[in-house]
Symmetry: C3
Subunit: 472 residues, 3 copies
């Protein structure tokens, strides 16, 4: 709906009502788009350009002057120019004094320069107030008015007043300002739009690696094995049967990996007797992407559910069943109903489906808008209590599915473990250790430690101030 609203506003272009004047250096695409949007929202806009004459193609109602003249007109100057051209600003130091310089620039790759563009600007023109803003907004979005994507504008700067000015402008443009603190944050703000799901990378890599490995493993022990042994071509199993072995295995392993770092952290804290010493980086990073790991696991579980439910519709299955019936009749040997099998199959299916329900609930609560309206107590209840319940159900599901298969030697191909066993290792380890950790005695001391108690108090607080993650 908002997009709708904001997309209507442009209709009022050319408003006579006057906000204060804004100055934009640079008449490139972004400068033009921004100026255009500002005009639409009732600001008057002055462009600063190297050769004011030669610049066609500017928004109606906007003036174009030399940089110097333009700068004098406004108290806020938006620099829609590349960092490479900042030098020339030093020539304008006198007019820029006390003005708010808005750095909207982005780089081509993350951490391209030692210091952020905004910090570099602040060093160039120390007498001006530099504010970083608008770098996350796309020129296209401004023009199209369809801000489907982020309407968030990260803002940082050292001077509170100047920041407030920009915050007001951002709001007037119908965008959402997000104060990120001082210019120190500008590096992150500049890196932000260059990121492509940084937190998702590790989980996706792990998932891909696992998938490939398990797939080949199943291919060997299933299709290839039966081809080599019996010259039987069951290659068609590559389409559904084998993926439907791979998906649940990967999903369960990933779910285990979501809770493993928490276990490590607890043990580490117990061992160190304090929470004020930093975790190793790999553990930190692992903990920070648990949510993403979980969601990837959910996607695999989702596929497993689909692939399982489609089974009876498959030609192979249908053929197999009718073939089975026909043979029974021909051989006149009807297989009797075995209540044990009925119990076993039904219960592992039931466990699986219950597990999937909680899986989905976990996924839903990880939606930003949902996790924003729950308090810490609730969030931890869902993420740890429900999370472990899910892990428990899914592990149970797999165990009962496996049942006594592992005893049946004939099932082992080339003495390799059965695929489903691979998926059980990590979850079982996690569950067992967790079980130990929640024993009253152990739990008590962990809780103490997490409340700040220390076995040997020592003030290496620095570590706390760096980004040490605490196990939740």
């Amino acid at each position: 709906m908002e997009t709708d609203l904001s997309s209507m506003i442009p209709l009022h272009a050319g408003s006579q009502q006057k906000h204060d004047t804004l100055c934009i250096f640079g008449t490139g695409d972004f400068g033009r788009s921004l100026g255009c949007k500002m005009l639409q929202c009732g600001y008057s806009v002055v462009f600063g350009s190297r050769n004011p004459q030669a610049t066609g193609l500017l928004p109606k109602g906007a003036e174009v002057l030399s940089h110097r003249e333009a700068a004098q007109r406004a108290s806020v100057i938006i620099l829609a120019i590349h960092r490479e051209h900042y030098e020339f600003l030093t020539g304008l130091t006198d007019v820029l004094e006390g003005k708010v310089l808005v750095d909207v620039s982005n780089n081509l790759k993350i951490n391209q320069y030692p210091e952020s563009n905004a910090e570099y600007l602040a060093q160039l023109i120390p007498k001006a107030e530099v504010v970083k803003a608008f770098n996350t907004v796309s020129a296209w979005a401004l023009q199209s008015g369809t801000l489907d994507a982020s309407r968030q504008v990260f803002i940082c700067g050292n001077d509170h007043k100047s920041k407030q000015k920009i915050v007001d402008i951002v709001q007037a443009l119908g965008l959402t300002p997000l104060d990120q603190g001082t210019l120190l944050a500008s590096k992150d703000v500049e890196n932000y739009p260059l990121q492509l799901f940084p937190m998702w990378r590790l989980p996706v890599y792990i998932a891909t690696g696992l998938t490939v490995f398990i797939f080949i493993y199943c291919l060997l022990t299933d299709v290839i094995y039966s081809f080599l042994s019996y010259r039987k071509d069951i290659s068609f199993r590559i389409a559904i049967s084998i993926p439907n072995k791979v998906f649940p295995i990967v999903s369960l392993i990933l779910l285990g990996l979501v809770y493993l770092p928490g276990i490590f952290a607890s043990i580490l804290q117990l061992y160190r007797g304090t929470k004020y010493s930093r975790f190793p980086n790999w553990l930190d990073h692992w903990m920070l992407c648990r949510k993403q790991l979980g969601l990837v696991a959910l996607a695999f579980a989702f596929l497993h559910v689909l692939y399982t439910l489609i089974i009876p519709t498959r030609y192979y299955v249908r053929w197999h069943r009718s073939d089975n019936v026909i043979n029974q009749i021909k051989s006149n040997a009807t297989s009797p109903f075995d209540i044990i099998i009925a119990w076993r199959t039904d219960s592992y299916m039931a466990l699986g489906m219950l597990g999937f329900l909680f899986y989905v609930i976990l996924g839903i609560t990880s939606l930003p808008s949902v996790s924003n309206v729950v308090n810490w107590r609730e969030f931890r209840f869902v993420q740890s209590k429900l999370g472990y319940l899910t892990l428990l159900l899914c592990t149970g599901h797999t165990l009962i599915y496996g049942w006594s298969k592992f005893l049946d030697v004939s099932r082992y191909r080339w003495y390799l473990p059965l695929p489903y066993m691979l998926s059980l290792v990590i979850p079982c380890i996690v569950l067992v250790i967790k079980f130990v950790l929640i024993m009253p005695c152990v739990d008590k001391s962990i809780t103490q430690i997490r409340q700040g108690w220390e076995r040997i108090p020592k003030s290496d607080m620095k570590s706390t101030c760096t980004n040490g993650t605490i196990a939740v």
Copy 2:
């Protein structure tokens, strides 16, 4: 949780703590509810009424005075009266001078009057500062305290200070202020609460039209045909079999329609050699409701999945299968296992399910809270890359499903194309053109154009300032 909080606040009704005084003109339902809420949040409230005596039924702790007296008491005056009665305010111009007049009015239909109520008010009392606010909040919501629906209050006005005053009040009432800029936006703000899913209308119409058409088409070529030809009554297929042909077809066509406008836009830009000339309105509108189109397509895909997975549970299917087996035995002719069919069926099912996964992921990323925390690069990665992958998978799913059916003349009824073919037209066109567009040579020039480069630079910038959508 918040609703919970806000719904508790009323318990503190009748606070002695004093904020500044607010004046409300009009003792109607909305005026009373608003006054009541304000009292609860610690403001003191004065009602202005035509005959202060005769108005019973007002919140405890609120005074009722004549309009003139009430106005003198407060610096902020909320007008909870209909636009029709604004005239009488002209009589109070002297007391209203310099005060903040809050226009909360709504109209009965969109664009009822040439100018918005707020603008009309601003003309009536030029010396007062008019702010539009609260018109999106419902009286019921204020009373019940359950703000399940939007807690957003759109605010617009020409004077920044006055706007800030209202923003503070809105926040104090536990609502979310959204600055929409100057009074120019008031028309949109007033139209907003009258809208009923404006962006959904077109997609829903298209979907309905397609559904009806395809349904009748299938009805003819399936039920009616076989009745006319063989006097065979298979009308029961209307319940599931035929819908399960209609849903996937409509879903795929809609998905194609999501990406078609982007294709048009690119071609148009290539042809015009610039992005600074506006797209035709129909294309603009089409592009603005791509998201909704996609979500409707997802709903149909969802139904297709359900209807497909239920198949083996159906009485007809079960009967058919056992009948089939019985015949095989009687005729003593068992059909051999055909690995080609196994491959074909399994692989189109696999493609379909993978396609559905990405379909769902696309749907999730279109949730406001999700799309708000991704940057542009990520948003476009998901929406275009993943989007086209989905389209590709679903088209492949349909192609393999069709396989060689189209060669089998016996399947054509009345020489009409098979239903599934209808669904392939648009997606295939889109995919082919897209394939051409991403060829390095073509892609390069599109990228240039989108970065603001022009073949024949000409400054019809006006068009950019109107709402021209850029293809994403």
Copy 3:
């Protein structure tokens, strides 16, 4: 992404850039964490402590002084100490005068003290401005920088300026301030982090109760009955068959319970002829947790769908079907195809699946981020129109599923009604009454009443000001 940003900020620890100074009383875990975060965001921090010497383990760059000295240094003093120790502050009244005291304390249980900690503080130091804030943020979250859970900081206080100061700090820390009004709200703010899904409790209790009851009911009439009557052990049905009877029944009853209170409310309003008299508490509470009721119902529906789709994969079902075929052949009596059954089964499945689609859509629209961007008209359209459509579809689904079963005496065990009948009672009542209520004549007067019209105007407005919920 934001978590990502905020989690990077700590890297800039030890900034030379100077915001104003903040003072923190108390060197406990939370005080340290908060101080640490503030240092990272460029504030300078002074700790106030009983014995400044003995406190090791403080953030680098923070000073530690006596309470008195520390207080003199800053205009904002954060009290990271327990309410129990507030008394000692009375000794500092002179230095605290005019300062902003931020109460971050939480209690151990809800409504532990007659007045909130913040109000108690305000009484102790009347000359200081007390602001309640930060109590919803966890120390761990501050340290880890991973604010997956709520980044919301509820703020309330009587003095607007002081509140604004805190709002600025909160934003600078990258958190989201939420103004909750005056100190009157502090009790709610303090209770908030202690809550564990308060609105979910009732729905979950109801659901659990119903589930247990229906489960036992089915167990009796199914497993136990057939054991007692025919000595037949079908206990395996406990795993899937019986739950798949329980889930839909509970789901439908819950869905009925979502719309029942609305019905009651309308009748009550019609009877009383006014909306300005408060509903009984039980009805209020019921209406406030309708959303949660609906979501629980959705979860059960979800399980029902899964449990139904898995049916043909089950060993029992497969065995049963092939057994059935074999018998047909042996007895040489093939059952003919019955088009009536085909129609009936297909159509109740179709209704069920359509119902589920709308169920899911309702669930999605109840996501905070979605319901935030729809206006009231749209919200009520979805929640009432679509809601009743869903109820209608699901009831129809059940009715057609039941069909003529209720006529078949043999199905009644111990003269108990068939389970599915239990689920139909409430939904049918709701639908019938609703049908009456939307009759033009009745509807007209309800609408009038809801627009504030009264049959016998009487000003018991007090009730409106208390939390009376209006039926939506």
